[in-house]
Symmetry: C2
DNA sequence: CGGTCCCTTGACAGCCGTCAACTACCGTGG
DNA sequence: CCACGGTAGTTGACGGCTGTCAAGGGACCG
């Protein structure tokens, strides 16, 4: 669908996907004006922070300071029990926000840590409020983002409660692949996966040994190829079927998506 | 802490807890003006709907119509897999809201059904928006409600991923007891629990047989007493310890709670 | 009094965890 | 060049937590 030229971000970009993954993601849901895009770019440029892999960004008990937006790399939210058991409760991929409006709470009830080297924007409360006030479409899109995050958390609850090991891993791979796709970070059948088997175990509630064995099964069934830090899903449809994966919960269909080429 | 008399809701009520469980709950977080309370009562009076136990209020695929507020009885959100496996992903207790701003989504990705006879208010979108516009404290309190719901969902993820059967059930009982307490629906050591063992199984990701056996263990350890539809927790501290329960995620401490009698 | 729902119990199996050892890989440094 | 240490991945043996199947009991109800 052609789009009229508009004052761009420096060059002749028109509908070139934004380099800002938040914009990219929100545009899977709604159409944004050039002004909206500029405001989002402004958010994404706040107080950039670069971190190594396996560093804590936020610790349990901290007072919420800023809204974190992940721009590159992977991070996760995790919780631990007193005896050391640890559960990754969600992944943060580029374009993901940690809890909009987290400022309402006095103390964090979980930790956020990086899994790979990562870059964050730390957006001050006032700036969020200002943007929300002047950009109703952004506000709506941020609501969408928030609701999708909740839906993902519910789906994880379903996975951990009902799916077996192979289904959990397969489901997780499908989810990651689609989420990365919505920010343009996938190839046709591949994406990065900077996770160790220990990370996968902590996210799926399995032991590392069992993750290892289950991955071997998935591999030998031709459902996934894992090499280095790359994930290949030769036949997404097959993996989705094997994992009882229904993409509806990601709410990737936007209002006009039935008009799109691949809608 | 004594409180000055204020124009009440018809009688000589002063700081008498509101009969509206939403108000009651939000006041565990923040202080509300009489005007705020009246607005919340107005929300809670919208399009009341009474339902029997085990009825679906919302089905997967439905278009979101109104914001549901549960006034009495219990309900739950649940998801099912194609082969019939079913997972309760959250409980709705009196005072709970189903997804503020759900209107943003086009279709529901889960079902909501009653567990006991229940009463709901169905609040139209426009009314929410109006109240939010004119009542900043309510807005803030609704944000708190929203964030706490997410925190609960994360804690369930932790439970399902890391806790064993006894810990899961014990943890769930602690959570329910505290949540019901925040709307004034508990006795000193007791509360209603209108759940079957099948419900408990679907919420904890266990089989009914194993729930049954685990409950027997909890009972014989003196940690819980279950009779009829009543739950008794003789020693909350002990059950919390046994279940690795940390109440921080419920964010029940409000700003001035250190000044309260039992803060 | 038969039916239904819920709870309970026993026997058995299997998914998955634990423990422990071993391999592969990689960057560092002598 | 190879030694070395650390991390990540792999494998085998074994056990236990939890699921499945099946049957029976109790309470409530038309």
């Amino acid at each position: 669908m052609p789009c009229p030229a508009a004052p761009g971000q420096g060059d002749d970009a028109i509908t070139v996907p934004s380099s800002n993954p938040l914009t990219r993601k929100l545009e899977t849901f709604t159409r944004l004006s050039q002004d909206d895009r500029l405001s989002l770019d402004r958010l994404a440029g706040q107080n950039l922070r670069r971190m190594d892999a396996r560093q804590d960004l936020i610790r349990e008990g901290d007072k919420p300071q800023a809204l974190n937006l992940i721009l590159s790399g992977w991070a996760c939210r995790y919780k631990t029990l007193e005896d050391g058991r640890r559960q990754i409760v969600s992944f943060f991929l580029p374009g993901d926000l940690c809890d909009l409006n987290i400022f309402v709470l006095r103390r964090m009830d979980h930790c956020v840590g990086t899994l790979s080297p990562a870059t964050f924007a730390q957006i001050p409360r006032a700036l969020i409020e200002e943007v929300v006030l002047h950009h109703p479409r952004i506000t709506q899109a941020l609501w969408w983002e928030n609701l999708v995050s909740s839906a993902i958390q519910r789906e994880w609850t379903l996975s951990l409660g009902q799916r077996d090991a192979a289904e959990r891993l397969g489901h997780l791979f499908c989810e990651i692949f689609l989420r990365l796709g919505s920010v343009g970070l996938t190839g046709r059948t591949t994406c990065e996966l900077p996770l160790t088997q220990t990370d996968l175990a902590e996210a799926t509630g399995l032991s590392t040994v069992h993750v290892n064995r289950t991955l071997q099964t998935l591999r030998s069934n031709g459902l996934v190829v894992l090499k280095g830090k790359m994930l290949e899903i030769p036949d997404l449809r097959a993996l989705m079927d094997a994992s009882l994966f229904n993409p509806d919960y990601l709410h990737l269909q936007h209002e006009g998506s039935h008009l799109d080429a691949n809608g």
